[in-house]
C-alpha cells in the first residue's frame, strides 16, 4: 500500500494532524506550499517531500507535480478564495484525480463542489453535526468516535474477500459473523458498483471474490477474522484460533 500518494496543498494548523496521520498510514505525502513560512514549518516538522511553487501558475503545477489518476489532491489552504481557485485549477489539470477540499462555510462548500471537488468537508458543519449528535445520540457518537480514532480497540475495517476464501459463494444471511465477535455493517460488490450497501437494506447476496466487507469489531477479532477470510476453507482455521473463538 506504500504507493498510495496524497498531495496536501497548504500547510497550517488546519492540516498538520491530517498530514501526520496520512504519513503514519504509509501514504506518500507531498506537501505543496506557496509561502516560505509554511515551507520552513513543514521542514521543521520533519517532512521531506515539500514543493514550493506559485499555485496560481498552471504551468508550474503541471510541470512540478507528478500526479497520477489514483492520487488524492487535498486542498486545505487557509484562504477560502484561493482554495476554490486551486480546486478549479487542479480539476482542469488533473480531471481524473480525486480532489478533497476543506471548507469553512456553507457558501464555500457550494463553490468548491462547483469547482469540481470530489468531497468537501466543512470545518464547522462537521463540528456542528458532532454537537448535535452528542445531544441526540450520545452513545452512537461515542461509538463512532471510538471507531474513527486509532487510540481505541474498537474499529471499523474493510476486508477484501480473496480468491480462495471459504466465504466464496456463501450467502450473507447464512453466515454468522457474530460468532467471530464482529458485526458486518455492509459491503461493496465491486462487480456491480462502487456503492456501499448496508446490511440492513435487505441484502440477499452471495459473497464472492472481489467483494469488500465492512465490519466493526475489536482489533484482535478483526485481525483474526481477516486471517480466516484469506484461508481456503473453514477448516483452515488453526486450532489456536478456534480455541480463542470459543
Amino acid at each position: 500500500m506504500a504507493n498510495r500518494k496524497a498531495f496536501i496543498f497548504g500547510y497550517s494548523k488546519r492540516s498538520t494532524f491530517l498530514t501526520k496521520e496520512l504519513q503514519k498510514q504509509n501514504f506518500n505525502v507531498i506537501i505543496v506550499v506557496s509561502e516560505q513560512d509554511s515551507y520552513d514549518k513543514a521542514k521543521e516538522h520533519g517532512y521531506l517531500d515539500i514543493i514550493k511553487l506559485d499555485m496560481t501558475d498552471d504551468d508550474a503545477l503541471e510541470q512540478q507535480l507528478d500526479v497520477e489518476e489514483s492520487d488524492y489532491l487535498v486542498c486545505v489552504m487557509e484562504d477560502s478564495h484561493f482554495n476554490v481557485f486551486l480546486t478549479l485549477s487542479l480539476k482542469s489539470l488533473f480531471p481524473k484525480s480525486k480532489i478533497i477540499a476543506l471548507s469553512d462555510s456553507f457558501h464555500v462548500t457550494q463553490k468548491l463542489k462547483m469547482a469540481g471537488a470530489y468531497k468537501v468537508i466543512d470545518l464547522y458543519q462537521v463540528s456542528a453535526n458532532r454537537i448535535y449528535n452528542i445531544l441526540n445520540k450520545p452513545i452512537a457518537t461515542k461509538l463512532i468516535t471510538n471507531l474513527l480514532s486509532s487510540e481505541h480497540q474498537l474499529s471499523i475495517r474493510e476486508i477484501d474477500i480473496p480468491k480462495n476464501s471459504f466465504l466464496n459463494n456463501i450467502k450473507v444471511d447464512d453466515f454468522d459473523f457474530s460468532k467471530y465477535g464482529i458485526i458486518l455493517v455492509g459491503m461493496i460488490d465491486r462487480k456491480l458498483s462502487e456503492q456501499f450497501l448496508f446490511i440492513t437494506s435487505g441484502l440477499e447476496h452471495s459473497l464472492d471474490r472481489g467483494d469488500m466487507l465492512v465490519c466493526i469489531g475489536y482489533n484482535d477479532d478483526l485481525d483474526r477474522f481477516e486471517r480466516y477470510v484469506s484461508s481456503a476453507c473453514i477448516k483452515g482455521i488453526s486450532n489456536e484460533d478456534e480455541i480463542k473463538l470459543n
Binding site: 496524497a6 494548523k13 488546519r14 492540516s15 494532524f17 491530517l18 496521520e21 496520512l22 498510514q25 488524492y72 487535498v74 486545505v76 478533497i100 476543506l102 462555510s105 456553507f106 468531497k119 468537508i121 466543512d122 470545518l123 464547522y124 462537521v126 463540528s127 456542528a128 458532532r130 454537537i131 448535535y132 449528535n133 452528542i134 445531544l135 441526540n136 445520540k137 450520545p138 452513545i139 452512537a140 457518537t141 461515542k142 461509538l143 463512532i144 474513527l148 480514532s149 474498537l154 471499523i156 474493510e158 457474530s178 464482529i182 458485526i183 455493517v185 461493496i188 462502487e194 456501499f196 448496508f198 446490511i199 440492513t200 437494506s201 435487505g202 469488500m212 466493526i216 469489531g217 475489536y218
Partner: protein, 516 residues
C-alpha cells in the same frame, strides 16, 4: 419556661423536612417566578378573577342563580383568603430567625432574648400586610361582605390582583417607573396649571357664570379643558375667562404631547430589554433547553441542523452587530455577555436541564463561560469549542463535559475520506441518517416492552435491524456485540442500525412510554 417552649417549637420546625418542603412548595407556587408549575396557579387565579368580574357585571341587569352567587361568595372568597394567609405565612419564618439568634447567642456566650427575633419577624409580617399588593389582596376579599352593597365595587380590586399574575401589566408599570422623575414633574406642572386656571376662572366668573358655583366646579372645568376632553357642561362666558381657556388649551396640548413622548421614549429605551426578558422567561418554562454562547459560523451551522428538532434554545451574543444579524436570520438571540455571572443566573438553573454550548471563537472566552456556568451549577452540561488539542486539558480542568475541536474533527473526516473512502460514506450516513441506514438509540425506559427480553427473543434480524450493542443502564458501560442470551433491564440503551422506517416500526412495536 415560655422561652423553652418557643425554642422547642422553633427547633422542631427547623429540623422537620416535611414542614420545610411544604413551605417551599407553597413558596414556589406563590412567589417563585422560576417554578415551572407556577404558571398553572397564576392561570387559575386569573380565571377566578375574570369569573368574579363577569358575575359582577352580569348581576347589574340580571338575576343570577343562587349557586353562582354562592360560588362567588364562598369558593372565590375562600380561595382568595387562603391565598392571603399562605402568602402571609411564606413571607418570612419565625423559627429560622429564632434558631439563628439562639445559636448566635450561644456562640457569643450572651443571654438569649426570645422576644427580639419574634419582634423582628412580626415587623416583617406587618411590612407584608402594608405592602400595596397585600392591601389589594385584602380588599379583594371584602366584596364577600354582603350587607354593605357598596363593597361589591371592591371586586374591581380583584382586577388589580391581576397584576400579581400577569407579567405584561407588571412590566408596563416597571417601564413607567423608569421615567418617574419626568412623570412626577409633569404631574406637578399639571396640578399647578389646573389649580391656577381653576382659581382664575373662579375669580373671573363665579358671579356671572351660572354653571360655576364653587372652586371645585372651576377646577373640574380646568381639568376637563386641559385634557382636551371639553364636555361643554361648563364653559367661560367672560372675555377674561376665555383668555384663561385659550392659555389652558395651548398648555394642555403641549402637556399631552410631552406625556406621550415620555412614555414612548421609555418604551423604546426598554423595548429590547423587554423582548430579551420575554425570551428568557419563555425559555425558563422548559424542562430542557440549550444556551448557545456566540453567534458565528458554527452556531449557524448547528442551528440549521437543529431547527429540524424541537430543542428550545437561546443564543447569547456580546456583539450588537451579530445580534442584529441573528434577529434578521430569525433566531432567539439576546445581546448579553455569557461570561457574566448574572446573565447565566437569570436562567432556571434549579429546575431545568440546561446544556450550554460555548461556541465563541476565543478559547479564553469559552473557558471563562464554562467556569462561570459551572460555578453556578455543576448540573449544567457544557459542550465547548477549542482551537487546538494542546488546550483541551485546560477545558477539561474547567469542567467541560465535551470538547469539540473543529479542525481535528474535520481532519479526521478528511483522513477517513482519503484512507477509507467506502466507509466514509457509511459512517457519515450512519450518524446523520441522510441515506437509508442510520444509527439510533432505543431506551428501555421509553420502550418498556424490551425489558426482560433477550437479544435472541427480540430477533433484530427479523426487524431488518442490526444490533450493535447496548449501554448498561446502571454502569453506563457500553457492551459491544453482547451474547444473545443477555436480558435487557430498565435503563439500558440499545444501539441499533437500520433503515429509518425499520427503526420507527420497531420503536412503535416496543414503544409505549413507561410511566411506572
Amino acid at each position: 419556661m415560655f422561652t423553652k417552649l418557643i425554642l422547642k417549637i422553633a427547633f422542631f420546625l427547623h429540623r422537620s423536612k416535611r414542614y420545610r418542603d411544604t413551605k417551599k412548595l407553597f413558596y414556589n407556587f406563590l412567589q417563585n417566578p422560576d417554578y415551572i408549575y407556577k404558571r398553572y396557579f397564576d392561570s387559575f387565579m386569573i380565571f377566578l378573577i375574570l369569573v368574579s368580574v363577569i358575575i359582577l357585571v352580569y348581576e347589574v341587569e340580571h338575576q343570577i342563580p343562587q349557586w353562582v352567587d354562592d360560588f362567588d361568595l364562598y369558593a372565590v372568597t375562600a380561595i382568595f383568603s387562603l391565598e392571603y394567609i399562605l402568602r402571609f405565612w411564606v413571607y418570612n419564618d419565625f423559627h429560622t430567625k429564632i434558631v439563628k439568634d439562639y445559636e448566635e447567642a450561644k456562640f457569643l456566650n450572651k443571654p438569649f432574648r426570645v422576644l427580639s427575633p419574634i419582634i423582628t419577624t412580626i415587623k416583617g409580617k406587618i411590612e407584608y400586610i402594608l405592602s400595596p399588593s397585600a392591601i389589594v389582596d385584602l380588599l379583594a376579599i371584602l366584596p364577600a361582605y354582603r350587607p354593605l352593597r357598596v363593597l361589591r365595587i371592591f371586586v374591581l380590586f380583584r382586577v388589580f390582583k391581576l397584576l400579581r399574575y400577569t407579567k405584561s401589566i407588571h412590566q408596563f408599570i416597571e417601564v413607567l417607573a423608569t421615567k418617574r422623575f419626568e412623570l412626577i414633574t409633569l404631574l406637578f406642572l399639571l396640578i399647578f396649571i389646573v389649580t391656577t386656571a381653576g382659581i382664575a376662572i373662579y375669580v373671573f366668573e363665579q358671579r356671572t357664570n351660572p354653571n360655576i358655583n364653587s372652586l371645585f366646579d372651576a377646577i373640574y372645568w380646568a381639568l376637563v379643558t386641559i385634557s382636551s376632553v371639553g364636555y361643554g357642561d361648563i364653559s367661560p362666558i367672560t372675555p377674561a375667562g376665555r383668555v384663561v381657556s385659550m392659555i389652558i388649551i395651548v398648555s394642555g396640548i403641549a402637556m399631552i404631547s410631552f406625556v406621550t413622548s415620555v412614555i414612548v421614549s421609555a418604551f423604546s429605551e426598554k423595548l429590547n430589554e423587554l423582548k430579551e426578558n420575554r425570551i428568557v422567561e419563555r425559555i425558563n418554562k422548559n424542562r430542557e433547553f440549550l444556551i448557545i454562547c456566540g453567534y458565528g459560523q458554527m452556531t449557524r451551522m448547528f442551528l440549521k441542523n437543529h431547527s429540524l428538532h424541537s430543542y428550545e434554545y437561546v443564543i447569547l451574543e456580546d456583539d450588537k452587530k451579530k445580534v442584529e444579524r441573528g434577529i434578521k436570520d430569525g433566531y432567539n438571540i439576546i445581546n448579553e455577555n455569557a461570561s457574566r455571572h448574572d446573565v447565566i443566573a437569570k436562567f432556571n438553573i434549579e429546575y431545568s436541564n440546561i446544556t450550554l454550548l460555548a461556541l465563541t471563537g476565543s478559547d479564553i472566552n469559552n473557558i471563562y463561560i464554562t467556569l462561570n456556568a459551572k460555578a453556578l451549577s455543576k448540573k449544567i452540561n457544557v459542550i465547548a469549542r477549542a482551537s487546538n488539542d494542546k488546550i483541551v486539558k485546560k477545558f477539561k480542568l474547567a469542567g467541560v463535559d465535551h470538547v469539540i475541536l473543529p479542525s481535528m474533527v474535520a481532519n479526521r473526516m478528511l483522513l477517513f475520506a482519503i484512507t477509507q473512502p467506502a466507509m466514509y460514506k457509511a459512517i457519515y450516513s450512519m450518524l446523520t441518517g441522510q441515506t437509508l441506514a442510520q444509527l439510533d438509540e432505543i431506551s428501555t425506559i421509553m420502550h418498556y416492552k424490551l425489558v426482560g427480553k433477550s437479544i435472541e427473543e427480540i430477533d433484530f434480524k427479523k426487524h431488518k435491524l442490526l444490533f450493535i450493542g447496548f449501554q448498561c443502564g446502571l454502569k453506563e458501560e457500553f457492551i459491544f456485540n453482547p451474547p444473545t442470551k443477555i436480558d435487557f433491564r430498565v435503563g439500558d440503551i440499545l444501539l441499533v442500525m437500520g433503515h429509518k422506517a425499520s427503526i420507527k416500526y420497531f420503536k412503535e412495536q416496543y414503544g409505549e412510554i413507561y410511566y411506572g
